[in-house]
């Protein structure tokens, strides 16, 4: 990784700044996105110069690289969030704040001051405001962040503003990759490539399309490994900091989970590269994936198989035949995305898994690939085996669509047998029989 993973202090709003920085560094981050705020290095405090000096020393002591963020909610107006902005009538208040931020950033040795446009329509006023900040001292790079709902909402808006201002060297781009999922026409990786050398600051979070809500990694649609890969591809060397401003109530836990997700995604990004460049590396990476992140080991292995450019049929067979239970399970899960390319091999492996007595393998075998490719007789026996083993039937893809009279007969006979023995009949079996009536 060429860049520095960080965490935003706006996600530590209930911590003292010193404590927040210590926790962030302790978790393994090497950077911080510092949101200037009432209790986090208030730029309007009388002793701001002395405070800045102290924070600079703290950053250096903890080995944290920094960017300055200016998205504080009620710093300028106690009644109206984020007010005034560069598109407001009282724009000069915002300009003054940004210029103060430049001074603090210079004293901290930060990479940039990041800012957004504001909600409104006055493009010309925005240009004038940005020009005023650009003309101020000290000359710290400015990162304009496209923000959903604001005048500069998408990356293209930011690039247009920059172009209209004559492409000033100091005006760069801050990109929130979650915003890309929410409002951009292309994915975050494509936005990163589009921004390229202009990128001076990156904010990391997940999001759902069309919804501007900052989510933890894995809760939205962001492809985190592909995003980190794109940053590596463009040679980005700055700060990429987690941006979860609504998670302060559980900040240390969220920051720890986020770091694990980032570490895993970095591994995936590097492993996918390696597999594409050297297909023979697959076996080693595939075997070791569980050590990287036990909670996500199946996903990791499936991604490696999706990236694998070599002979898929032979490789799936080898990895399955030589695999531990977890490796076999991942091969079976990978049949969902890649099995249609090698249906005969896929069916063989599914049938093998259905002969085992391992619940995890039986469950993984009955996914979407089996729904689409397994013959009806084998499929029925797979479903029945689930009932026997106590595997819930929600693991069976296409259960409703493929259920037929013969399966219902088998399930009814199974229920009779259980009842005759005085044993409980699984709820899933009863539900299936009920639906059929």
């Amino acid at each position: 990784m060429t860049f520095h993973l960080g965490y935003g202090t706006n996600g530590f709003a209930n911590h003292r700044l010193d404590d927040a920085l210590a926790v962030i560094a302790d978790l393994g981050y090497t950077a911080v996105a510092l949101t200037l705020d009432l209790h986090h290095l208030d730029p309007f405090a009388d002793d701001v110069a002395a405070q800045t000096k102290r924070v600079a020393a703290r950053l250096s002591e903890l080995g944290l690289r920094s960017v300055v963020e200016t998205g504080a909610r009620f710093l300028l107006d106690p009644y109206r969030k984020h007010h005034p902005t560069l598109v407001s009538e009282s724009q000069e208040v915002r300009v003054d704040f940004l210029v103060r931020s430049l001074k603090i950033a210079a004293d901290l040795g930060s990479d940039c001051v990041s800012f957004w446009s504001g909600i409104g329509t006055s493009w010309d006023r925005l240009k004038a405001g940005v020009s005023a900040v650009l003309d101020s001292e000290p000359p710290v790079p400015l990162g304009l962040e496209p923000e959903p709902g604001m005048l500069v909402e998408r990356l293209e808006d930011a690039l247009r503003l920059r172009s209209e201002l004559g492409e000033p060297e100091a005006l760069r781009i801050t990109l929130d990759v979650g915003h890309c999922v929410a409002v951009e026409p292309v994915d975050a990786a494509a936005c990163i490539r589009r921004a390229g050398d202009l990128l001076v600051n990156v904010q990391l979070d997940d999001m759902l399309p069309g919804v501007h809500e900052h989510l933890e990694f894995g809760e939205g649609h962001l492809d985190l490994p592909a995003t980190l890969s794109a940053l590596t591809d463009i040679g980005y060397t700055g700060v990429a900091a987690v941006e979860l401003p609504r998670h302060s109530h559980a900040a240390p836990d969220v920051a720890r989970r986020s770091f694990t997700a980032l570490r895993t995604a970095s591994w995936v990004a590097a492993a996918e590269r390696e597999v594409r460049a050297d297909p023979a590396s697959l076996e080693r990476l595939f075997a070791g994936a569980g050590r990287v992140d036990r909670a996500r080991e199946d996903d990791l292995r499936v991604r490696l198989l999706e990236a694998y450019p070599g002979d898929l049929a032979g490789t799936l067979t080898t990895l399955y035949r030589h695999g531990s239970s977890a490796e076999r399970r991942a091969v079976l899960r990978a049949l969902g995305p890649v099995g249609a390319r090698v249906p005969e091999v896929g069916v063989e492996l599914v049938k093998d898994a259905l002969r085992t007595n391992e619940t995890g393998l039986v469950a993984a075998a009955l996914g979407p690939f089996a729904r689409d490719h397994l013959d009806q007789h084998s499929w029925r026996h797979g479903v029945l085996k689930c009932l026997f083993m106590g595997v819930p039937l929600d693991v069976v893809a296409g259960l409703a669509a493929r259920t037929d009279e013969e399966l219902l007969r088998m399930v009814a006979a199974f229920a009779d047998e259980r009842e005759a023995a005085g044993r409980a009949v699984p709820d899933d079996a009863l539900a299936l029989l009920r639906k059929a009536v």
Partner: protein, 284 residues
């Protein structure tokens, strides 16, 4: 009392044993690859055995809330059969897997040149894969075998802290203690060590670098010997922390050097054998 049995052959044990072990506090085990009583005649037989150590047996243990790990190697007795030696070529495939926490059992049975060769080659594999080594010491001529083991380890370049020399007793403990290797003791109903002799050695040598195991297998043995040794320690005046160190923290420290321990077994846990309408843990 939480117990990590660092050497037990669960393949030979029943589900009653798993239940009793869990009830006694056993939450993790290491199953070393070894001979099976009946000699093997082909590589395929090893492969099926190794597959069960990273597959079925781990699943079986998880059903009883026990984290199962294994060590992989060609054992010294079968190192003498040319039909078995080719298994060395398939070992690397297993030595990269999760839950494979050491190369073992390696070492000597009859101290033949064949055993020398296979032992040395497997120490090289351990170095290459950065794995600890579990060394079996011979039943016959144990003292000479232990001394030769220590010499071979020293020459191999494997750090002594990465090696446990197992099945020790009063006559072999000192040489291993002095070497810097870890000391393994198998507590048996008749042979090897018993609980009280073990406690006496712990009093004399302390609790550092000591692993106590039941080594239970297909012979007369008792999978609860770890627990019984813990009770004997308490009766002899050791405190609970001493017992925890010997029966849990020491094996975690030794095998933890592999980076491959899977101690979160609750996560991969069990099937609900009853109604079948419960969640299937470990499935996503």
């Amino acid at each position: 009392m939480r117990i990590f049995d660092p050497h037990i052959h669960m393949t030979s044990r029943t589900t009653d044993d798993y239940e009793a072990m869990h009830a006694a506090g056993v939450r993790a085990v290491v199953e070393p690859a070894f001979w099976l009583g009946q000699p093997r005649t082909s590589v395929g037989s090893f492969v099926d055995y190794f597959d069960s150590l990273v597959g079925w047996e781990r699943f079986r243990a998880a059903q009883y809330g026990i984290a199962h790990h294994c060590t992989i190697a060609l054992n010294p007795k079968e190192a003498n059969d040319p039909r078995c030696v080719e298994v060395l070529d398939v070992l690397p495939r297993y030595l990269v897997k999760d839950g494979v926490v050491a190369v073992g059992e390696v070492g000597y049975d009859s101290m033949t040149p064949e055993e020398d060769d296979v032992f040395a080659r497997q120490l090289e594999l351990a170095l290459l894969h950065e794995l600890p080594v579990l060394v079996h010491t011979p039943h016959r001529d144990k003292k000479a075998g232990t001394q030769r083991t220590l010499d071979v380890v020293r020459e191999s370049g494997v750090p002594v802290g990465m090696v446990v020399v197992d099945h020790l007793n009063e006559t072999t403990i000192k040489a291993v203690a002095d070497s810097g290797c870890w000391m393994g003791f198998s507590i048996y109903p008749d042979t090897k060590m018993d609980e009280d002799r073990m406690v006496a050695l712990l009093k004399e040598y302390g609790t550092d670098r000591v692993l106590v195991n039941s080594a239970a297998d297909w012979g007369r043995s008792d999978p609860l010997k770890t627990h019984k040794t813990g009770l004997a320690m308490l009766a002899a005046g050791f405190d609970e922390s001493d017992v925890d160190k010997v029966l849990w923290r020491n094996p975690v420290e030794f095998y933890g050097q592999s980076g491959r321990l899977l101690l979160d077994v609750e996560e991969v846990g069990a099937v609900h054998a009853g109604t079948g309408n419960s969640v299937l843990r470990g499935e996503r």
